[in-house]
Amino acid sequence: MKLGKTLWALIIIKLFVMFFVLKALFFDETINTKFTNEADKIDFVYKNLTKDR
């Protein structure tokens, strides 16, 4: 079925770009990847919330 194949191809390309290009290159760093323990995460956010004061 031609429509089905086209759509599956589109879905696979889209997911590849999303997870292997965008996620891997631009969205690879989050608070959970940057810090492993809870206290460091809290400290990071606390500093960001209070640093400009």
Binding site: L3, W8, K14, L15, V17, F27, L49, R53
Partner: protein, 504 residues
């Protein structure tokens, strides 16, 4: 904080949300329309209805396949670009999204497979049940996502824990059934239903104009005009309820939607107006270069009564003692006390000074409702972009009125046997297809631009919510997003047009 990085993060999020919502409305409404059509097929056994169902199902599948997972990109952005926000909202935002993923999306996705691949493989009734479950599942997905969004507009059922710097859910029921969330859901899905009805109406009209598959196109036209007419009336009422909720929880947004600078008793609604682009709060100038107002209407909508006061932008910025509205300056002072108390709490904890811990906690709780104001320097910073909010709102409302008229005429004419003679009207139906999308996107602009500068109403401005990233990095990913989404959108239109040309 690098401002260009914040602005690029905002632009990127706006682009993602607006593109994502090009796919969502059709999924929400077309799924129900297909379920109606299939119900007629199963109950009458008429093979024409099976063909009609299958035709619209093909278009539904194209939209679903291309749109699915585009929303996940927003979750990437939450983690990377909005790390402070993501931590601060804690599990409150996470819970509805998790429910959406675990239950609603899986319900939708599982039965989607049966709906698309299951013709002749499962019984008629089971197939019909699957179609209905896809419709219900996709709308349930929307519910939980909109509940999460509504919490940002009105953070209820929560308390802030200074120990973890997170908001913690104190009442799931308050979050899940927040009046802001329920009204937002009803209005948003209503808009999606109208967009879908316009889509079916316009394509059916095109087939009738070309005299192809005329009978099936006319049947589809009747379904679309009936569904569209009922939904456009429903959206009128859900919009009224949404505006009432905004008036209660986000009065600044309502004032911006109406260009209301100076509050009024029995305020009128601007039916048509041109804003003075040079207008600033407190400058004494008339905000409009030209306006036509319907008296009393805004006051009734915002307060559900007459002789009540609707605050304007200046009342909310400078305060109004007569109506117990405190000024933004006072709220900024209160916010700075809250921020100072958070710092004091942390230092007292480190010293082990229990009395100071309790005192700072008390101060923080007393002033928490103004926490985000502590980051502002000037009272005027609480004013959102008025022109964009005002014009988007008026475009949405005008289109809402147009849709009621269009569906009414369509429904009336569809009863006649010579609808093919009303060629101009049929072309109007064809060219009205994009207008549903315009109204939906305008509605989102009102909802999101109108609540600036807040990422979370009164608790966190966008500048604090954002992560300090390199502006160049965000700019590159912004460009890539624009490219990816544009490619997907073009692919959707091309594949759709090809399928439409094949016919029923």
């Amino acid at each position: 904080m690098d401002l260009s990085s914040v602005d690029f993060s905002r632009a990127q999020f706006a682009l993602t949300a607006l593109y994502h919502f090009l796919f969502v409305p059709l999924t929400l409404g077309l799924s129900f329309m297909i379920a109606f059509m299939e119900t007629i097929y199963v109950s009458t056994g008429n093979e024409q209805w099976k063909k009609i169902t299958k035709f619209w199902l093909r278009l539904f599948v194209i939209n679903f396949a291309i749109g699915v997972a585009t929303g996940i990109i927003m979750e990437f952005e939450f983690g990377t670009n909005w790390a402070n926000y993501s931590w601060f909202v804690g599990d409150i935002f996470g819970a509805p999204l998790a429910i959406e993923g675990l239950f609603a999306f899986f319900l939708e996705a599982t039965f989607f497979a049966v709906m698309f691949f299951g013709w002749d493989r499962v019984s008629k009734k089971f197939h019909l049940l699957s179609t209905w479950l896809v419709a219900i599942g996709s709308n349930l997905s929307a519910y939980w996502i909109l509940i999460a969004n509504a919490w940002m507009q009105d953070p209820v059922g929560t308390s802030f824990n200074p120990e973890t710097i997170r908001n913690e859910m104190s009442s799931f029921v308050e979050v899940a059934l927040s009046p802001m969330g329920v009204s937002k859901f009803l209005h948003t899905v209503g808009g999606g239903y109208i967009t879908s009805a316009l889509f079916v109406l316009g394509i059916s009209a095109y087939f009738m104009l070309k005299k192809r598959n005329f009978v099936m196109a006319k049947k589809s036209f009747v379904v679309a005009s009936s569904f569209g007419f009922l939904c456009s009336l429903f959206v009128l009422f859900s919009g009224d309820e949404s505006a009432y909720q905004v008036a209660q929880k986000q009065p600044m947004k309502l004032a911006a939607m109406e260009g209301l600078y100076s509050g009024e008793i029995n305020a009128g609604i601007v039916a048509f107006g041109v804003l003075d682009p040079k207008k600033e709060p407190g400058d004494g100038k008339d905000p409009f270069l030209f306006e036509i107002k319907a008296p009393y209407a805004l006051g009734i909508m915002a307060t559900r009564g007459i002789n009540n006061f609707t605050p304007g932008i200046e009342d909310l910025v400078f305060g109004n003692e007569n109506f117990n509205i405190i000024s933004a300056d006072d709220r900024i002072k209160s916010g700075k006390i809250a921020l100072g108390a958070l710092e004091g709490y942390k230092r007292a904890k480190e010293r082990g000074d229990q009395i100071s811990v309790l005192e700072n906690r008390r101060l923080l709780e007393q002033n928490m409702q103004n926490f985000g104001y502590g980051y502002l320097e000037k009272a005027e910073e609480i004013v959102p972009p008025v022109a964009l909010t005002f014009y988007s709102f008026h475009i949405m409302v005008s289109l809402g009125g147009y849709f009621i008229l269009l569906f009414f005429v369509a429904l009336y004419l569809s009863m006649a046997n010579d609808i093919e003679n009303f060629k101009k009207f049929l072309w109007i139906c064809v060219w009205s297809i994009p207008l549903g999308y315009v109204a939906c996107e305008a509605g989102w602009i009102v909802a999101e631009v109108g609540r600036q500068p807040w990422a979370i109403q009164n608790l966190m401005p966008v500048g604090i919510a954002a992560t300090n990233l390199s502006g160049a990095n965000v700019a590159i990913s912004f460009a890539l997003f624009a490219l990816l989404f544009s490619a997907l959108f073009i692919a959707e239109i091309k594949i759709m047009l090809k399928q439409i040309k094949i016919g029923f």
